[in-house]
Structure formats: structure tokens, C-alpha cells
């Protein structure tokens, strides 16, 4: 089964439109100029590559512009172009969507964040805040180009866009999708501009990738989307391919939050693995669009990696970095630069590295100083993100690479689960404690009285992890690490540092990222000046920072990304991990979510995105809290290879948009009587959907009253379900997670035969 790209759309600082952007790249134009979007006083640079011809009101639906960010508008323009080029619309059959990014509506909401931090009591919600969550861009796209069926928002800092394409490829390879619109968008904002300045990573002049005198990056902004489909889908509608997506690989360095591994070891591994995946030899690749940020550390590391991966073939490999023309577009870069590589292949012309005059001897490669006509069979693009998230993609002439066999989807097993919640740090069996209901919310007279979750947990990091090693990690990251360490240990993958952890990846996030840290960072630089922005805190503001820190702490070397979907964030992460594993991407993933107790969320964001939620303990249903929950998922083959059987199997993993009945009503009934439904936060919609499903008779349990009404509650529900299956309480569990017009459902079945020991006492409601 081959994967074709049949349409590409680009919004870049050089032009709106893929063809015009490529024309200008090949002409050697550079988009750098003094920044006009905001004041850059106190930063190391005033220069950036800005998208000027952008009017949000021209792109957003009438009346919705106030809730749209520039990022959303760039994404919509690029996505519309990709669909138009491919000749596809959402009404031609199921169309799925993956969006990568890091900042979403940060520019539009920065002053709100500062005010919210300064005066939480008097701040009033603004429509702008709707553009803040990372998932807002996918929702904006759905409003103008949808409906989409399966939608996902992912982040891995500066490799986000490339990893969005990998998830799309996984969906196509496993047969979940026929067509996927995949790409990324990221707009310039004060937070990233100030942050890179504080890191000393920003050049005062337009950047000079691979140059001996390079002194840092220049920031840019933009968006790129590709329409990916199976060859069969494209042929059926008579569509021509631009190129084939033939290979990909993503791994984590597990080295340092901002600095790359000097040896380039992991970067070389992903280049080699992507080529192996494509079944191509290094000599078949004519051009590599490099990450090439123009920082001292990146370019030397990358040149070493390219040399290691390509061997003697490096002599003929043309290498260039588009960042010398359009700057570093951060979360969009992986998609934008893959799109540029695809167009280079299609047009038989290699774009140059502008700004490169005197090659650093440590970056000796076949650099392209001016655009070069060249017939190409295959090209590559590489992307490296904060925390050491390395990704490489291989694109080729359709039919060049051997057609990959269509493999049956791998079975996905749960080998452990861990939670950090009101009851402390708990392992696999412990999670079931959250099924014991709070007095008042349980069927009459059934439950012991258990207090609702506290607003902030009594979690002391020093009791659970080495705080010296984790000294750069904020509370969110520490909650995630504590859960990860527990899950790995429970799953038999400890002690830490074992080589086996190198095969584990992670997918986890928070609905609103690390919002409090963002508020504090923005408020400080707005009040005290950009000079006093904290370089050490800046990396913690990236939505993927909790998983990145977890990867570094625990030595996880698989694909490490975050997934975000409002109240269903944990469920979106689990679905992503299941989809990657079933498609053969990786051996194991930690998947779930983490939420910090946050004034900004409690007072501002949660009421906007889920106004029906109770905000007060007086309702008797608990209140916002914090927590982390991670499941350890493994492919059946990987688990069997190390002699494990697992606790449960994920026999169904569903994701949908809108409020259809179909996903749940089409589920087969539970295989036996010992079945239950578990949910994080229960609502009327979910209840109605369940009533129309074959699971209507199963008892229902809700964990939010015990764990708090936070966005990680869905992860706690999943962990509680795994705990109950491990204890032999049930044979199968349906976990349902709903957010604003989005839903996920999983059926977990106990793996081991029911334990011979005494059965656990039934929970209130089980007799139903």
C-alpha cells in the first residue's frame, strides 16, 4: 500500500500559496525585515520573517474572526489550498485531520494571560481566549473546511509538523483512513520571540545556516498542509500524485531540554530508520531539506548526523536549509519544510541556503548556494524539537520505493497504568480506588464516604523522584514523571536507564498546555522587559514539555509527542498511541494526560470551554484539581518478546467529532455480564448515547468526584478501568470520554484469565 501526496498548500513569509513560495525560494529571496507585529524592545533581534498579507477577517467565518488567531487563518489558507490542489473536499467521503503546532492563539491571548495572572479576580473572559488552546486550530479548520471525521492535534515542539504527517501515515497504513489532511501552523508571538532571545539562540541579523559565523536562528511563521491518501483512493478518483510519502521515523534523544546530543547519534538513527522504512538506499536520495536552524549546536550536530547516516553517499547529497529564507517556523517547520522538499522533487529544482557564505568546516556538506536544477528520485526532510524530538521523512517519485505490504494491525495491550491523584502515586492495581464513589454521588446507601479531590494534591516531588535530576522540570512535568516511573516499574520496564526504555515512546498532554507557567512568563516580560524573561522556564512553556521532560528523565527513546483535545485530552492521547502501535509505529508508549491545578484554567478557560461543569465543591461533585495518569501500551509482539502478557487488550479505540450516536451505537455488546462503563466526567449527552448503545445495561462509574474535575480525569478513568481489570473485578470495560463536540471510546478486555483468588467486593452499582 503506497501513500500519495496529492495536494500541498503553503502559507509562508515569502508568499501565500505553494507555487509562489517555491518560486521565491528558488529565486533566493529572503523574507526577513524588522518585525511589525509587536514591540521587540529588549530582545537580541528585531528581525523576523513575518506573513504580511494576512487578514484574519478574510479567512474566518463571518462573525467569528475575534475567536480566530493568525495561526488559524494561516492554517485555513494552507489547508484549503492543499484540498483544492488535490481536488478533494470533506463532502466527498470521510476526511480526517491532523494538525501540529506549538503556539496557536498565543499572540492574540498574551495580554489576557498577563492580566489573568495579575488580577485573576477581576479578569473577564474575552472571545479571543477561545483561540488559545492548541486544539483551537483544528476546530477552526473544521468550521470552514469540515466536517472532519477523526481529528487530532499534536505537538513535539519544532518537529510537530513532521510528526503530524507520521500520524496521518499511520492512520492510512492501518486502514483507519483513506484520506487525511495533515500539516501544521504556527504564528509569531511575543512568548517565543522573547524566549528564544532569552536563550541566546537568536541572531540579531538574518540567520546564516551552516555558516562559520552563524550566531543563532531567526524566527518565522507559516503553515503547510498536505492531502495524504492511499494510492487506491487517489486512483479511484483519477487523481495524480505529487509524490509518495515512503518513509518516516521519529525518536527521542532523551538528552537535554534545549541542547541537542552533540554526536548526532539519534538524529542519524532517524535518518537511517526513515530510509530503511522506505526501502531506499542513501544514494537514491538527491536532496535533504535540513532542519538547519543556524544555532551553533544544531548545525554541527546535524552535519555529523547526516554524515553518519549517508556514509559515502553524502558526497552527492544536496543539503539546504529553508530557514535562511523564511526563518524558523517552529511547530510549522516540519510540515512546511517537508512540503518544500516535495515541491523540489516535483519541480526538479533544489532551493538554496541563503545567508550561507563561508561554510563551517564542521558542517562540511554539499551545500546549495544558489537554486540548482536537478532531477530527483527521492528527497528527505528532517526536524528536531526541544527535548530532543527528532523526526525524518522520505518522499519519492511515485513507484520508486518498493510497495510496502499491507500488514494486519498489531494488537495493542495495556501492561501497566499509574496515577498521581488524591490517593498518592498508585500503580496498576491501585487505580481502581477511584471507582469507589464519593458519598452523595453514589446509589443510595452504597458507598463509604470519601472526600472529593483537593484543589492541589499533597504531592511532594522529592518523595517520588530525584529532584536534582529533575530540577529544571516544573510541577506539571514532575507529575508526569512520577506517573511514568510508576507505570514503567509496574510494567517491568524498570529500573530506569535500562536499554529497553529506549524503545518506549510517549503521548500525553494537558488540555491547555502549561498555562500558568505561560501566564507568569508573559506577565514578567511585559512588566519588566524582555531582558528578564527566564531562559530556563521558556522550554517548559511548550505544550509537549511534560512528555519531553519525562523522556529525558526516564530515558525514553521512542516517538515523544503531546496530544491535546480539551476535556478529552487524555483520551486523544490514548487513541493516538493505540493508532501508532496498531500501525507498527514503535513498540510501546506511555499514554495519558497531566493537568496542574491552575487559576487560569479554573477561572477562565474551563468555564469557557465547558460551561456546564460545576466549579464549586458545594455541588457535591468534586472540584478542579490536578493529576496525571499514564497507561503503558505495548504492541503484542513487543510484549511477547519480553515474556509479558499484559493486563488488558484495547479491543476497540474510537474517535469522533460532532455528537453522532453512531460510534457507540455500533459497538458490539459486552462479551459477558461482568462489564462496566467508566468515564472521567459524566454528562447528559454521554448518558443518552450510552442508553442507545448495546452497553446500556452495564453499570456506570465516574471518577471525577474522586480525582477532581480536571482535564486529566479521563486518564484517571482509563487507569481506574485497567486497575479493575487487573483485580479481576470485570472482564471488559467501556471507557467513554467526551468534550465539546468530540468524543472517544475504548473497550478494554481483561487479558489474563480471571484470577483464582477471591473476587473483589462488588462496587455499588455493579449489581445493576
Amino acid at each position: 500500500m503506497r501513500l500519495w501526496i496529492t495536494g500541498i498548500g503553503i502559507v509562508s513569509p515569502l508568499a501565500v500559496g505553494a507555487r509562489a513560495t517555491m518560486d521565491r525560494l528558488l529565486a533566493g529571496e529572503r523574507a526577513f525585515a524588522p518585525l511589525t507585529l509587536f514591540d521587540t524592545a529588549g530582545c537580541r533581534s528585531r528581525v523576523a520573517a513575518e506573513v504580511h498579507a494576512l487578514r484574519v477577517a478574510d479567512v474566518a467565518p463571518r462573525g467569528a474572526a475575534a475567536a480566530w488567531s493568525r495561526t488559524d487563518a494561516m492554517a485555513a489558507l494552507a489547508a484549503r489550498e492543499a484540498l483544492g490542489e488535490a481536488g478533494v473536499s470533506a463532502h466527498d467521503g470521510p476526511l480526517d485531520l491532523v494538525v501540529g503546532g506549538t503556539t496557536a492563539g498565543m499572540l492574540e491571548t498574551e495580554s489576557d494571560l498577563a492580566e489573568l495572572w495579575r488580577n485573576p479576580g477581576t479578569w473577564r473572559p474575552t472571545e479571543r481566549m477561545l483561540s488559545h488552546p492548541l486544539s483551537a486550530t483544528a476546530d477552526a479548520l473544521a468550521s470552514v473546511l469540515g466536517p472532519f471525521r477523526r481529528v487530532r492535534t499534536v505537538c513535539s515542539a519544532c518537529s510537530s509538523g513532521a510528526n503530524a504527517l507520521i500520524l496521518a501515515a499511520a492512520w492510512l497504513r492501518s486502514g483507519r483512513s483513506e484520506r487525511v489532511l495533515a500539516g501544521a501552523a504556527d504564528g509569531l508571538c511575543r512568548l517565543t520571540f522573547t524566549g528564544f532571545s532569552a536563550l541566546g539562540a537568536m541572531s540579531p541579523e538574518p540567520c546564516r545556516p551552516f555558516d562559520l559565523h552563524r550566531d543563532g536562528l531567526s524566527l518565522g511563521e507559516g503553515a503547510a498542509f498536505a492531502l495524504l491518501e492511499t494510492e487506491a483512493s487517489a486512483r479511484a478518483r483519477g487523481a495524480e500524485p505529487l509524490c509518495e510519502l515512503a518513509g518516516w521515523a521519529a525518536r527521542a534523544e532523551a538528552h537535554h531540554i534545549t541542547n541537542p546530543e552533540p554526536s548526532g547519534r539519534t538524529a542519524a538513527e532517524v535518518l537511517r530508520a526513515a530510509l530503511a522504512r522506505a526501502g531506499l538506499a542513501p544514494s537514491q536520495v538527491g536532496y535533504l531539506n535540513a532542519h538547519g536552524t543556524a544555532t551553533r549546536l544544531n548545525d554541527t550536530m546535524e552535519a555529523a548526523a547526516i554524515g553518519q547516516a549517508f556514509g559515502p553517499a553524502v558526497a552527492e547529497l544536496r543539503v539546504s536549509s529553508s530557514k535562511g529564507q523564511i526563518g524558523h517556523t517552529l511547530g510549522a517547520a516540519g510540515a512546511l519544510e517537508a512540503a518544500i522538499a516535495a515541491l523540489a522533487l516535483h519541480r526538479s529544482a533544489v532551493p538554496p541556503t541563503m545567508g550561507l557564505h563561508e561554510v563551517d568546516p564542521e558542517c562540511a556538506l554539499r551545500h546549495v548556494f544558489a537554486a540548482e536544477p536537478l532531477a530527483l528520485d527521492a528527497v528527505m526532510s528532517s526536524s528536531f524539537g526541544f527535548g530532543g524530538s527528532d523526526t525524518a521523512l522520505v518522499l519519492c517519485r511515485p513507484g520508486l520505493a518498493p510497495a510496502p505490504a499491507r500488514l494486519p494491525p498489531s494488537r495493542v495491550l495495556v501492561s501497566a497504568a499509574a496515577t498521581v491523584g488524591p490517593e498518592g502515586v498508585l500503580g496498576t492495581a491501585g487505580g481502581a480506588v477511584y471507582l469507589v464513589p464519593v458519598a452523595g454521588s453514589a446509589p443510595a446507601g452504597a458507598a463509604p464516604a470519601v472526600p472529593p479531590a483537593p484543589a492541589r494534591l499533597a504531592f511532594e516531588a522529592r518523595d517520588h523522584l530525584d529532584v536534582e535530576r529533575a530540577r529544571r522540570v516544573d510541577r506539571t512535568g514532575r507529575l508526569a514523571i512520577a506517573a511514568a516511573v510508576q507505570a514503567l516499574r509496574d510494567g517491568g520496564l524498570g529500573p530506569l536507564g535500562q536499554e529497553v526504555a529506549r524503545s518506549v515512546g510517549a503521548v500525553a498532554g494537558g488540555a491547555f498546555g502549561t498555562i500558568d507557567a505561560c501566564c507568569a512568563f508573559v506577565q514578567k516580560f511585559l512588566e519588566k522587559g524582555a531582558r528578564f524573561a527566564s531562559p530556563a522556564e521558556f522550554p517548559n512553556l511548550v505544550p509537549s514539555s511534560p512528555v519531553a521532560h519525562t523522556s529525558i528523565y526516564a530515558g525514553l527513546g521512542g516517538m515523544v509527542i503531546s496530544s491535546h483535545d480539551l476535556a478529552a485530552t487524555a483520551e486523544s492521547a490514548l487513541a493516538t498511541a493505540v493508532e501508532l502501535l496498531e500501525a507498527g509505529e514503535g513498540a510501546a508508549f506511555l499514554a495519558g494526560s497531566v493537568e496542574e491545578a491552575s487559576v487560569a484554567i479554573e477561572d477562565a478557560l474551563a468555564p469557557m470551554f465547558a460551561p456546564e461543569l460545576p466549579s464549586d465543591v458545594a455541588t457535591g461533585r468534586g472540584r478542579r484539581s490536578e493529576g496525571a495518569a499514564l497507561l503503558l501500551l505495548e504492541s503484542e509482539a513487543a510484549l511477547a518478546a519480553r515474556g509479558g502478557v499484559g493486563v488488558a487488550e484495547v479491543v476497540a479505540s474510537l474517535a469522533w467529532r460532532g455528537t453522532p450516536d453512531a460510534p457507540l451505537s455500533e459497538l458490539p455488546p459486552p462479551p459477558g455480564a461482568r462489564a462496566a462503563v467508566v468515564t472521567g466526567r459524566y454528562d447528559a449527552l454521554g448518558a443518552a448515547m450510552l442508553e442507545r448503545s448495546a452497553w446500556r445495561a452495564a453499570p456506570r462509574h465516574e471518577v471525577a468526584p474522586r480525582v477532581g474535575w480536571h482535564e486529566a480525569a479521563g486518564g484517571m478513568a482509563l487507569a481506574a478501568a485497567v486497575g479493575a481489570l487487573a483485580a479481576g473485578r470485570w472482564d471488559s470495560v467501556l471507557v467513554v470520554g467526551l468534550g465539546r463536540a468530540r468524543g472517544y471510546a475504548f473497550v478494554l478486555e481483561a487479558r489474563a484469565p480471571a484470577a483464582a483468588g477471591p473476587r473483589p467486593e462488588p462496587l455499588p452499582g455493579d449489581a445493576r
Partner: protein
């Protein structure tokens, strides 16, 4: 000067989140980066920002920063000299 050294040590522990350490654990002459406290380039950036914020004394960039960050003594000497040279200081 002793008071300044103590203030700097407190700043180092707080800004770099050296949770297992107290200011008294930091030797006046020991190197701050590399072998000494095991600090790296990101810590250097954070410390430079924090010193400027707290004492109003900028830390030079590049090679010159190396000498200033050689030890608590060197850092204290830099801060004291800059303050003495400041107008009205």
C-alpha cells in the same frame, strides 16, 4: 563582600532549583560550571538574567562570561566592581 557572596549563593540555589543543596554547600572558590556544581549553559543564561535582575549588573556574553562565572568569588568580584563603577555607586 561576604554578604554579597551569601546573596549570590542564595540566588544560585533558588534560580537554578538546586533543591538538594543549601547556600552553605557552595564553595567560594569551586567552579560553578562543568565539574563543580554540574551546571550547564542553560543555567549560565538563567543565572546571568537573575544577577542582572537582582543586582542591576549585566554579565558579559561569550568568553568573558566564563571568567565571571569561574566561581562565587569571581562573580561577587564582578558584581562589586560594576556597582562601584556605577554612577553614584
Amino acid at each position: 563582600m561576604q554578604a554579597l557572596r551569601e546573596q549570590l549563593k542564595e540566588l544560585i540555589v533558588k534560580e537554578l532549583n538546586l533543591e538538594g543543596k543549601s547556600p552553605g554547600d557552595i564553595d567560594d572558590d569551586a567552579p560553578l560550571f562543568g565539574a563543580g556544581l554540574g551546571l550547564d549553559s542553560l543555567d549560565a543564561l538563567q543565572l546571568a538574567m537573575a544577577v542582572e535582575e537582582r543586582f542591576g549588573v549585566p554579565i558579559p556574553e561569550g568568553e568573558a562570561a566564563r571568567a565571571v562565572f569561574a566561581s562565587v568569588n569571581a562573580l561577587a568580584a564582578h558584581v562589586a566592581a560594576a556597582r562601584a563603577a556605577a554612577p553614584g555607586g
